[in-house]
Amino acid sequence: MAGETPPSHRRDSIKQTVGNAAVQRRRQLAVSVAKERREAMFRTKRLCMEGISMNLEAATNGEKMIDEEPPVLESQTSKAVEELKLAVSFKGKDAVQNKVNALRELRRLLSRSGFPFVEVALKSGAIPLLAQCLSFGSEDEQVLEAAWCLTNIAAGTPEQTNALLPTLPLLIAHLGEKSSLSVSEQCAWALGNVAGESDELRDLLISQGALIPLAKMMVPDNGSTVRTAAWALSNLIKGPDPDAATELIKVDGVVDAILRHLKKSDIELATEVSWVVVYLSALSDVATSVLMRTDIVQILVDRLAASNNLQSIIPLLRSLGNLMSGDAYTTNVVLDPGHEITDSIIRSLSKCLKSEHRFLKKEAAWVLSNIAAGSVAHKQLICKSEAVSLLLQLLAGAPFDIKKEVAYVLGNLCVAPADGLGRPSLLLDHLVSFVRNGCLCGFIDLVSPADLEAARIGLHFIELVLRGMPNGEGQKLVEKAGGIDAIEQFQFHENDDLRMMAGLLVDSYFGETYGLDE
């Protein structure tokens, strides 16, 4: 610091206060950084760090990101916004280059991983300036850098994302087919972050006409742009309003594009496109029926069979699950038990049951449960596969939520489809086989007052055993496995249905006549 030297005691006390404040500030910052990182985790947003266009990368490659102290970077950020302000109002020679340089400086500060200094940039008034840089007719590089800054601002907190409001119509406009690929891609990225923020912003973007231009960006064959557009679309249509999904499927060329991209070897591309299918099939019956008229199930099944990485498996599995749960047509007609496609999907599901990832086991069991809700032929097919032994193992030892899904599969396998004439009939050989394999304990575990749904299926299965096991074995087996205790817990439960069920079971099978004939 230039200037006269203050007396030593004063200098010391100043140093002390500055020191303390700095330590405190650093601590505060560390806490908020950690919190921010955690929250950033859950957001369906993506920070843009390395840019899209090759030209841009070349320009910035030489720069080293010096690791300054946060306060220094903060002041650099506000300084960058100031510079941008000057550049925007400057009307002379090289005006464009000035603007681009200023934007680039701001963009670099906003692209740091961990803690971009969005708040400072906003407070310094970056948004109106960035909006001006997006005006029609502006140079590509200018629009690109501005959209990049906005992308990273929108990757932040709800307040920060909402600050982008004035710029949205401009970003949407630059998605048009006249824009260069990198410009439209960067704008799509920014919009994807905005859409990922909230239902309200999603609705707003749709009302401002974002859906169709983004959908059109998915139609051609250029990898990177399609991928970003697909990701942005998945954020845009994810609901809860199903209308966007229904509108998307109607856009010319979209269905064809989806099928085409799903067959490509580009894993990341196919992953993002399958997420679009996930939301289409989850939200819109119209979309599901349109998709079911294509060979999408075959494509998805084949892709699932060939996939080895988690990132692609998740949306493939889920799309199939959604397509199957929406409509019995999928299981009944498309997944013909006589055809290879059905064997293939059961094999893939069995592979998922062996995964180390809990949620994958759970979701795979869910999909299986819906296949098991199909025809007797489907059930027999599953019983002949390796899935059954995996399921029985999981029932015995897996976490509660997985056990529950597995229970649905096994139970469905024991009961024929309902024919509308009262109680569906039992598939005794399946039931007996499972019970001999010791499945009762797992079902009894599910009869817990903490989870009514689980308790219901546990009690239902116990009833199957009591009713169906030959030679009245059911009662002894249930008793031996601690089933009576489990049932009796529900005699004090507040849920009427379960209380009644428990009472009925005890009355019918463990009433006064039980055990007398010994």
Binding site: R43, L47, Q311, M324, F492, H493, N495, R499, D507
Partner: protein, 252 residues
Amino acid sequence: MMMMDNQLQTQTQFQCWFPVLRRFGPDDPFFASGNIERELLAKQVALDFTEEEKQQLRNLDDEDSEVICPIVGCGANLRSLVEFEDHYNARHTASCSVCSRVYPTSRLLGIHVSEAHDSFFQAKVARGYAMYECLVEGCGVKLKSYKSRHQHLMDKHNFPSSFDFFKKAQPSKKERSKKNQSKQRNATFNTENEEGSGASAMQVEEETLNGLVSAVSKLTTSDSTPSSISFGRRHTRGLTFVPRVVQRETKK
């Protein structure tokens, strides 16, 4: 109406297992873990999480299983299955020291002890006092007989007619053989067929005798508190109702 089938088929009112297609909305908690994983995988580069941080974030999802205790009259708010198990074990496993039946609340245990093991209670009943309390906490109604209380539970609180507070439940084979042995020792031992309605003085006597027998036998067993949650049964099987897997996880 309860129709009992001779072949012990489940009564027709029981809605049994029905295979159906199950669907979840995209935002259903069912998909939460998968969604988290998607974001983790997509953001590897940008946010640079360590393996430890990632694991912590994955585990967060598991902790989101809030439970409200469903035992009639309790309704406590618990934040996880593990907490629920603790709560249940602490508050709802009240066992009778005389006959070792287990009840979910100390109030119900108290009611049981009065009705089954207290001769003063019986004396008052004999004199016409309304001694049989309604089992639902907060109701406050008292009836003159076991049967009329049963009726009140059905009429006012929708309890099923099969519900029997002081049920002469069926003991296990082990218990039955134990009983047969004590039968030979005990002339006043009544058969299992006696209904629980209208606890009589004789029953109290028998209970007391049984109580002595079981109290003596308890001196030799190591664990006198039944670990199972079975109200009214003398089972001492060590099967806690909370899924074993939860216990396993807390052991980590």
